[in-house]
Structure formats: C-alpha cells, structure tokens
C-alpha cells in the first residue's frame, strides 16, 4: 500500500509539473493582458530544442536551458506580431501552434526513438531512502522543486512586488498605465517572453524528464490544458497549483487505469482529461461575476500608443 501510494504521488508530481510550468508562464502573460494561445506550439518547440541540445551536449541541464530559449524565441515572434504589429492575438496564437507543430516535427524527425539524457533525480543519502517521504520529498528531479519555487516567486511578484503591481495595471487598464508613463508594449513584451520561456521549460521537462524522449506532438494537448488551468485558477497563482495537480492526477490515473486492463477501452480513458477540462471550465466559468472580477480587463486587446 505504501509502495503504491509512493509511486502514485511521484508519478502525479511528474505528470503535473509540465502543466504547472506552462500555466505559470501563461498566468504572467495573461495578467499583463496578453492572451497567447500558442502554448502548445511553444511547448513542442521547447521539447524538441531541449531534446536536441541535450542530445548533442549529453547534458539534460543544458537541454533544459535550450528548451527555455526555444520557447522564448517562439514567443518573441508572437510578441512582435501582436505587440509591435498589433495583430489579432487569437490568430497569432494559433499560428504559433501550427508553426510549432510543423517546426518541431521537422526538427525532431531525426531524433524519434533515440535515447536522450535524462534529468537526474535528487539523491540525498539517508533522506532519499526514507519510505514514502524519501522519493516524494527528497528524490525528485530539480525541475519539480523548481516549479514550486517559480510559482512561489510568481505569486510574490504578482501580489507583493511593485513591479507586479505595474504588470497587473497594464493588464487591467493599458490606457491608464500608459497615461501614468509605463511602457505597455515593453512590459507586455517581457511578460510574453516569460510565458514562452516557461512553456519551453515545460516542453523540455516532457522530453528530458517525463517521457523522456522525443515523439511527434508529444505534448498531446497539455498546452491547451495549461491555458484552461489559468481560467480554472481565475488568474490566481495559488489555485494554479491546485489545478495543475488535479489535472496531473487525472492524466496519470487515465494512464494507470489503462495499465490495469479494466474493461473500459483505453482510447476512451485517454479522452478523460479533455472531457474533465471542459466540465471543470464549465463549473468555474458559470460564475460570470467571479470571472469578470478576476480576468484582466484588457486580456487579448491590442494597445497602440497615441491612438
């Protein structure tokens, strides 16, 4: 029983981490008023660049760095399109996902089925061998701890720091923020790049720790679920943790139940996380007042100075 519980918690943590990383990045972008629907594409590009860098340097850590840059590079394209050239954010986000899919499968074509480096797990003699608490608390890879630290920092940044206040002001009223003298474009550019870097990191986690290998379209909709998580959390960092672990658990359970060989066909169980996403979104979004209260007022709206 304790063995099962340990492996369950460890697996759920691994399944939740990419969701948490990507959603944390998207949260910051959305709080600044940028709706980047390209999370899925940025995750895929992050996954493939991470894997390729990791493969050639034989270092998972450098791979993770590469993944972060890959995601950020793609988000820079989005930022130029929507912030400099004032394109429609929905369309640009979709373009990012379509391009990301194509680019990642082209770049990764030669790497399918190859073993890459794997992000090492923490090993503290004594502590990591404890039953249950050893593997779950002291035996994870660095990014699982990193995801908590980044989330805590983002929470602090958004809710306690002056810079975070400015970022939220830009997201809630870009005209007012501009009138006070803040550069809306510059702040949103930064937030978008952070979102892209985090999505890339999430992708790198998939290809260097979770799977760990490269396969075409390996993120399988996690980028979209991360977007849904931000709505689920009603744009609050704390709830993001709850949401990411809830969905991580559902994703792991759908894999686990398939492994048990129960009578429910595996394809239908695989569909479960996506169905749950819709149901959960409906439960949250039904409360229009709560959504309106928490959603950044300028979410998805372009800002042109001097117009």
């Amino acid at each position: 029983m304790i063995f099962f519980l340990t492996s369950f918690v460890v697996s759920v943590m691994a399944a939740s981490t990419p969701l948490l990383l990507a959603a944390t990045g998207e949260l910051v972008a959305e709080r600044s008023g940028v709706l980047n629907l390209g999370v899925e594409g940025m995750m895929l590009v992050g996954a493939v660049t991470g894997f390729i860098v990791g493969h050639y340097t034989d270092s998972a850590a450098l791979g993770i760095v590469g993944a972060t840059f890959g995601g950020a590079a793609l988000s820079a394209v989005f930022a130029v399109l929507t912030l400099t050239l004032l394109s429609n954010q929905t369309a640009a986000g979709l373009a990012l996902t379509i391009f990301g899919r194509g680019f990642s499968s082209l770049a990764g074509a030669a790497f399918v089925g190859i073993k890459g480096p794997v992000l090492p797990r923490l090993s503290i003699p004594g502590l990591s061998d404890l039953s249950f608490f050893g593997p779950t608390l002291f035996g994870q890879d660095a990014l699982i701890y990193g995801s908590f630290i980044i989330l805590a920092m983002v929470w602090w940044f958004l809710n306690r720091s002056h810079a975070g206040l400015i970022l939220r002001a830009v997201g809630d009223s870009h005209d007012a923020a501009h009138a006070i003298g803040y550069s809306v474009t510059r702040i949103r550019f930064g937030a978008t790049l952070f979102g892209g870097a985090m999505a890339g990191l999430a992708g790198g986690y998939m290809s260097l720790a979770y799977s760990p290998l490269w396969a075409e379209n390996m993120t399988a909709g996690r980028g979209w679920i991360a977007l849904a998580l931000v709505v689920f959390a009603t744009w609050r960092a704390g709830w993001l943790l709850v949401g990411a672990y809830l969905f991580g658990a559902i994703m792991y359970l759908s894999l686990y139940v398939q492994g048990l060989g129960v009578a429910i066909p595996s394809a239908l169980i695989s569909a479960l996380p996506y169905i749950v996403t819709v149901v959960v979104l409906a439960l949250i979004a039904r409360d229009r007042r709560r959504i309106r209260l928490n959603q950044p007022a300028c979410l998805g709206r372009s800002f042109a100075a001097g117009t």
Binding site: A91, S105, L106, A228
Partner: protein, 364 residues
C-alpha cells in the same frame, strides 16, 4: 526592438492593402520557404519548384488539388462566417471527425440500402455530427460562459480518441487482419466521382457551392448583417437588440455543420472507410484558409486551393527531396505569421522612428 517603426493610423482601412497583403504574404512565404530549403541543404529554386509548382503540372495534379482543397474550402468558408462574428471556433478538426464518424456509422449500419437513400442519409449524419459537436461549444459558451476556443479544441481530442476507440473496437473490420480500420463502405455509401478516371468527387463541387451559400447568407440576409455587426461593433449590436446568443449558435452550427460535411465527404470519398488518421490537420489549416481568404467565403476558395497545394507540396518534398512532410506545417505557420504581419498595412502606415531625442522620449 520594441518600437523601431512607428505605425501611423490611416484613419480607415486601406482597400488596396486588404487584398495586397495576402499576395505580399504569399510572396514572402515562398522566399522564406526557399531559405528554409537552403538551410536543409537543398537548392532553394529547385526545392520551391518541387514544393509549389511540380505538384500542379504533373498528370492528375489539378484533380489532386481539388480533392485536397474541398474540405479546406468548406471549413474555411464556415470559419470566415464565425470569425466575422467574433466567434472563435477552432475545433473544426473535431467537428470534421465527428461528422466522419456519424456518416461512417450510417454507412456501416445499413450498407445494403440503395444509394438514393443511404447516401443522403450519410450526408445528413455528417452535418448533424459536426453541428452537434459545435453545438456543445455553443451551449457551453451561451449558457455556462465557457470560452469556445478551449471547449471546441478539447472536443478535437475527445473526437480523435472516440474515432480510435471505434476503429479499434466495435467498428473494426472483422476481415481486416486486425488493422485498426472499419470495413470499406458499400458502393451506395461512396461519394460519386464526377470526372471519371480522376479523384474529383462530389465534395469538390459542393465546396465552392457551400462557400457561395455562406457568402449569400452573410451578405444578403438580415442574419448575416447581424453577424457582421456583432463582430465589428458588439455595443452597437446590443443597442440594436440583436441576440448575441442566437448569433453564436448560428455561427457555430453553420461552421460545425460544414466541417461535419467535409468529414463525411472525406471518409466516403478519398478514404472509403474509417481509419484512425482521417485528416492531416485540415481543421487547423482551415483557420489559415479563413484568414488568408480575408474572412470572406469566396476568398476561402482561393485560399483553400493554395493551402491544398501546400499539402501536395509536402508529399512531393517527401518523395522527391527526402524531406519530412512536416514542411507543410512550417509553410502554413509561416504563411499565417507573415499574413498577420502584412495585415498591419491595412490599418497603419509604417514610418521609421527617428532615433532623435524627441521621439525616443515619446517612446518611453
């Protein structure tokens, strides 16, 4: 990096750039593709020829183009209507799949019915399947305030897994040697070929007709007028008393129904059975078709043909150049990027920002 060019508003949209922008974007995309091929160690000129010209000039090229374009045009026209109304249905892929499943179900259940009954029934099933999938998103949006982008996209994954379940489980062909596919549909459930000896089927005729019908709906009916007002001036629409909910329903049902019909034509025509892979991403490409076609159903016809060519080019690049056919996805993504970038010229006049003190101060 942030404000290297200053954008001066034109005051009103430039009619010239509305149509010149896609042309410019296409030219730039071809150049970028050439650079991409060069980066992959191919001669850019020859590779671009293989990708974009050779598929057309070879025997049967035009009919292959028509077959690939049919689903893109049908879905692109529906999406044009949707997006004009600011209803962001991006789950066409799922609606396409559900349409195909429903049509396939009818075809498999009553294979011996005469064609005049079975074929129209399969068509209706396709439309209903696609429209029902879209209706779910419409209901979630209008009743429960759920963003239609996310709900329609999630349904795409659900539809794909449902298809896999059906073709590996209850609907699997018992004589299929264990392959995950259904039996071939009977002759009476097969889409008729219009030009003997080519692949051009009834759907290739339906696609432009559907686009024209959507255009008529948008430009000639009160409903179409309301749809456009809701999209362009939601406040005005509210003052005029247009029901936003009703228009969301209409937009979703039309685009979903067309996607379902496209799915029906695809599985009863070129494919002839249900398999786990019935679409190379037509539903997502249709989004590009809609934008490239200037959110105009007739424009979707031309845009659909171009993007169909990118699929043929991807296959040709795979066979003749040994490149992964993922180049199609890159071409499509770059095209949409550049189109969005060029579209800035419709509303703004670009001016180089002078690095002098006054301007730098203003930029900060």
């Amino acid at each position: 990096m942030f404000e290297p060019i200053r954008l001066v508003p034109r005051g009103q949209p430039s009619p010239f750039w509305t149509y010149a922008s896609p042309a410019l974007a296409i030219v730039l995309t071809v150049i970028v593709s050439g650079v991409m091929f060069f980066a992959m160690g191919k001669s850019p000129g020859a590779a671009v020829y293989t990708f974009l010209v050779a598929p057309l000039v070879q025997a049967g090229g035009l009919s292959a183009l028509a077959v690939k374009a049919a689903p893109l045009i049908m879905m692109g026209a529906g999406l044009a209507l949707c997006y004009r109304a600011s209803v962001w249905n991006i789950g066409c892929e799922g609606q396409f799949t559900l349409g195909a499943i429903c049509a396939g179900g009818v075809a498999l259940a009553w294979p011996d019915l005469p064609a005049p009954i079975l074929y129209p029934a399969a068509m209706i099933a396709g439309v209903v399947g696609g429209a029902a999938t879209a209706a779910l998103s419409a209901w979630l949006r209008t009743s429960l305030n759920v963003n239609e982008i996310l709900s329609s996209l999630m349904m795409t994954y659900v539809a794909q897994y449902l298809l896999i379940y059906l073709v590996t489980g209850p609907w699997r062909d018992p004589q299929g040697f264990g392959f995950p596919q259904t039996a071939m549909f009977s002759d009476s459930a097969t889409t008729p070929i219009l030009i003997p000896g080519s692949g051009v089927h009834l759907g290739c005729l339906f696609a432009p007709l559907a686009a024209i019908a959507v255009w008529a709906l948008m430009s000639k009916s009160t409903l179409g007028f309301q749809l456009r007002v809701v999209g362009e001036a939601p406040r005005a629409a509210r003052f005029a008393g247009f029901s936003e909910k009703r228009l969301i329903w209409v937009a979703m049902l039309v685009s979903g129904g067309l996607a379902g019909l496209a799915g029906m034509f695809e599985v009863t025509g070129p494919i002839g059975q249900l398999t786990p892979q019935i679409s190379p991403g037509y539903g997502f490409t249709a989004v590009i078709v809609a934008f490239l076609g200037r959110l105009h159903p007739i424009g979707a016809i031309f845009a659909g043909l171009l993007l169909a060519l990118s699929y043929l080019g991807g296959d040709a690049a795979q066979i003749d150049l040994g490149l992964p056919n993922a180049v199609t996805g890159i071409f499509q993504g770059v095209l949409l990027f550049l189109l969005l970038a060029c579209d800035i010229l419709i509303l703004y006049r670009p001016r180089l920002a002078r690095p002098s003190g006054a301007n730098a101060g203003a930029a900060r």
